[in-house]
């Protein structure tokens, strides 16, 4: 109901779209004129225009003019940065984010449960985000497979999945997979319950994957010899791990403390696979050299810490310190809320430890693109890359900065002026549906439906 209402509201925006903005007629061609361009790859360019053709950056320069019929965004006095990439998101997932019963669940795919109408997509566009890395939760030592989503608000899910992105899978270490914080736990403990057990789950799983791989190799060899062998039984979990062993599936590993980070690197070395990113990695700074040697990126919070025991040595200097030591750093949100202001979060790497502005900028653009294996096509403002931009009314790290337009593939998906023009009065908003607060509902509409259902089941007259 609330979702539908919002879609109608947005449909209204699209239908009434004056000029070219937020209209179905957008072609993916545009000229952004006379901006300060923060490229993230080659510095800051003053008084620069960007020509976009068919959703890609066609030219960057001082004296560009728009071909006939191509719309112009006058960005005089504004700042353009690459569309922000949130490397750790759970937005747009319909329902729970954890397949929590088994300790390993890589058969689960996030792309199967994406909700393209999630209002958080629009809210994050309003914070300059153009791509989110939607991850499975951290209840499992080996969790589900991820989705890299372009925030084409209103498009079908199939069009939002980024075609160039390699598949990734979530791993998790520490308090979450050992289930230290189970809420009103049902039944007994699930294996593993200690960090040693998390390691054992990883080793046992990769041992099984190696054996499974051999079975398939033997099967294919027999086929090649012209024999007629029985194929091994398909195992979707082990298929995924074989993909990891073969370097086709990227590993994004939720982790906090330094000992478990080293453990993971040893497991990866022993079985011959790579870790692409540590997710969170609050103590990554303690093992920066090992991470650099393994070319592992760290996707962390700007300054979130102390919320549980494994987060007590998390320091806001993590991002800058790792950068000083040559490790690729990403600042992520892991939150529908923080995702809306990742530019402010990235600036904290300047505040804590003195990262440069370009280093901080890369933490939410180019470095995030590398983590997802899509840095050849997004993450910076370079000719040939996707035309994904966040346009600000000032420097994105300045206190009074806000996003005025967000562009995905050369089309405007957020326009603050148009959003403001569509606003209702506060009284009108208050009449719209508001869900209740609280973990167990307070959602009056749902409660009323459940009331009627219960009445019908007991033969009541509702």
């Amino acid at each position: 109901m609330n979702r539908q209402t919002f879609c109608l509201l947005v449909a209204g925006v699209v239908a009434s779209g004056g000029a070219f903005r937020l209209s179905a007629q957008q072609t993916g061609n545009m000229l952004i004129r006379d901006a300060t361009v923060l490229t993230a790859s080659h510095g800051t360019l003053a008084h620069t225009s960007i020509l976009v053709k068919d959703g890609k950056i066609a030219a960057i320069g001082g004296g560009l003019t728009a071909p006939a019929g191509v719309p112009v965004i006058d960005a005089t006095g504004k700042f353009v940065m690459p569309g922000i990439i949130d490397e750790h998101s759970h937005s747009a997932i319909d329902g729970g984010i954890n397949e929590g019963a088994p300790a390993i669940s890589p058969m689960a795919h996030i792309k199967d449960v994406l909700n393209p109408h999630d209002v958080n997509i629009y809210r994050q566009l309003a914070g300059g985000v153009t791509i989110i890395h939607v991850l499975h939760g951290s209840a499992n030592a080996i969790g589900g497979q991820d989705a890299v989503v372009k925030l084409k608000w209103g498009a079908p899910v199939e069009e939002m999945l980024y075609p160039g992105a390699p598949q990734g899978v979530k791993f998790a270490l520490g308090e979450n997979p050992k289930q230290s914080h189970r809420f009103l736990s049902e039944g007994g403990a699930r294996y593993p319950a200690v960090r040693e057990g998390v390691e054992n789950v990883l080793r046992t799983s990769f041992n099984a994957a190696r054996l499974y791989e051999k079975q398939w190799d033997a099967y294919h060899a027999a086929l090649a010899r012209g024999e007629h062998p029985m194929p091994p039984q398909r195992n979707l979990n082990l298929d995924t791990l074989v993909g990891v062993l073969q370097g086709k599936i990227l590993v994004h590993a939720h982790s906090y403390v330094s000992d478990e980070i080293l453990m993971l690197l040893h497991v990866a070395d022993d079985y011959g696979f790579k870790i692409r990113t540590l997710e969170h990695g609050l103590e990554a700074y303690k093992v920066a050299d090992a991470l650099k040697a393994h070319d592992v990126a760290v996707s962390t919070f700007a300054d979130n810490w102390q919320y549980k025991l494994e987060a007590t040595d998390g320091i806001a200097y993590n991002a800058a310190l790792l950068t000083q030591k040559g490790v690729r750093v990403i600042i992520n949100s892991d939150s529908d809320e923080r995702a809306r202001r990742l530019y402010q979060e990235a600036a904290k790497a300047i505040h804590y430890g003195g990262a440069t502005e370009e280093q901080a900028l890369r933490m939410i653009t180019l470095n995030a693109a590398w983590a997802l294996g899509i840095d050849k096509t997004v993450g910076s403002i370079d000719v040939g890359k996707d035309a994904d931009f966040a346009i600000f009314n000032g420097h994105p790290f300045a206190p009074a900065a806000l996003v005025t337009e967000t562009i995905v593939d050369g089309k405007v998906y957020f326009d603050r002026a148009q959003d403001l023009a569509q606003r209702k009065t506060p009284a009108e908003y208050e009449k719209l549906f508001k869900p209740g607060s609280g973990f167990f509902g307070g959602d009056e509409e749902r409660d009323a439906l459940q009331q009627r259902l219960a009445a019908a089941q007991t033969g009541g007259n509702q």
Binding site: E175, D303, Y307, K308, K348, A400, D419, Y429, F440, E444
Partner: protein, 440 residues
């Protein structure tokens, strides 16, 4: 008045500080009045007065003694040449759990926020403030010198205390142990009784009907009214030699309107109910939270109700709400003349107080108002404006020296004084940064 700082000029700017070595005090020591301290050649932002471009701030005996362009430095004073640096009052976060909340998950021994029972007015947060909290160290380093810390359990949670974030004992940190009564005002759309809902969920029973819910809500408001009424009757009787009641006694300054009662509310309808209640009970009342203040601006303006907004870094209440509703709340209150402050409603995020104000500034709050919202306004709302919130002679010398606009994330704090005492900016994060080889 303030300009966003350019990182090239301020962050690593060549500051010329004549006296760099401030005493680093490893252990709590008595906060005694030492030699006067003079900060000279600074750009001073007093908040309650115009900016002074090349000014001197003088502190002695824990108080600010002079602020101005032509202030003469007394002999024997410790002089800090702050050319190129900016001087502001320490920031004031008027809604926190600082000192009573450390590690929420896995270490319940560090949590002193949620008391058992609905009415606990006699319990004050200031009693349980942990002066060694690692969170306080990181908060102080960002220029926050003062906080209201309050329990948040039950209905009348207890009393919020105004503390400073200096080095010292709990007693030294307490500015006002009894500063405000913290009340979680009943919610129309609240989850109701948690255990009752969970029991129903497990039993497969439907949730309460809207009539049941309304009855439960009314009952909660009636109970709260009864409690305040009982406290008022108790205060009306002079002699309690044989029936002294500590909870009722604790309520006395609040029912008398001497100290503020804070109603935590978020929804517009709850905001209106809390206002109705506050007016009916003739309280000196303040609202906190107020995520939906933008929908109730008219009511708030009509009754001139002070609001401790925050956190700003929040989500809109409903999918239908404007995406920037929490960001633009402050600008709307300011435009309507509603007194307000910005707070974080947190312990660990209290260090982000200036960045909450920055978001409000980005979404329409004038820059000088954004600064006041985290300095002078919280002091005014809590009745401490004669002691705190701006740089003026006679006020507590809670002072920060920065390399730029404190609302700019790129700015850092260079010196901090609490009660006129140089206070170290070192903290757990910085210690580990050094230990693991971070560049100075």
């Amino acid at each position: 008045m303030r300009t966003p700082c350019s990182s090239t000029t301020v962050r690593r700017g060549g500051m010329s500080v004549a006296f760099l070595v401030l005493p680093i005090l490893a252990a709590p020591a008595p906060r005694q009045a030492g030699a006067p301290i003079a900060i000279v050649h600074a750009r001073i932002v007093p908040v309650s007065a115009p900016v002074i471009n090349d000014g001197t701030l003088l502190m002695q005996g824990g108080k600010i003694t002079a602020v101005g362009a032509g202030v003469s430095v007394p002999a024997g004073a410790t002089v800090i040449d702050a050319k190129g640096l900016w001087v502001y009052p320490g920031m004031f976060d008027a809604n926190t759990t600082l000192g009573i909340a450390e590690i929420p998950l896995g270490a319940p021994g560090t949590m002193d926020v949620d008391e058992v029972g609905a009415f606990n007015p006699a319990e004050a947060a200031g009693v349980a403030v942990n002066p060694s909290s690692e969170i306080i160290g990181t908060t102080r380093a960002n220029g926050i010198t003062t906080a209201l810390t309050a329990p948040h359990g039950g209905v009348i949670s207890g009393q919020g205390s105004v503390i400073d974030l200096g080095i010292g004992t709990t007693d030294q940190m307490n500015v006002r142990r009894a500063a405000a009564l913290w009340v979680n005002f009943p919610q129309h759309h609240g989850q109701g009784d948690f255990f009752e809902r969970y029991r129903r969920l497990l039993a497969g029973e439907p949730p309460p009907s809207s009539e049941e819910r309304e009855r439960a809500y009314r009952k909660q408001v009636d109970q709260l009214r009864d409690y305040f009424s009982a406290a008022r009757r108790y205060a009306g009787v002079a002699d309690h030699a044989t029936d002294r009641d500590l909870a009722m006694e604790a309520m006395a300054p609040y029912v008398a309107g001497r100290l503020p009662v804070v109603f935590q509310v978020d929804r517009a309808e709850d905001i209106r109910s809390a206002v109705t209640f506050g007016e009916e009970m003739k309280l000196k009342y303040v609202l906190a939270g107020c995520n939906d203040a933008w929908e109730a601006v008219q009511t708030l303006a009509e009754h001139h109700v002070p609001v401790i907004l925050g956190e700003v870094t929040a989500m809109p209440t409903s999918d239908n709400d404007p995406y920037d509703a929490p960001y633009s709340n402050a600008a709307k209150l300011a435009a309507a003349g509603v007194p307000f402050a910005i707070a974080t409603a947190s312990a660990v995020d209290s260090r982000n107080l200036p960045y909450n104000a920055a978001l409000a500034e980005a979404y329409g709050l004038p820059a000088d108002e954004a600064l006041k919202a985290i300095t002078l306004y919280p002091a005014q709302i809590l009745g401490l404006q004669d002691e705190l919130g701006s740089l003026a002679p006679g006020k507590r010398a809670n002072v920060i020296v920065t390399n730029g606009d404190p609302l700019d994330v790129r700015t850092t704090v260079r010196y901090l004084f609490i009660d006129g005492r140089p206070t170290p900016l070192d903290n757990k994060g910085l210690r580990l940064y050094r230990e693991y080889g971070g560049k100075p």
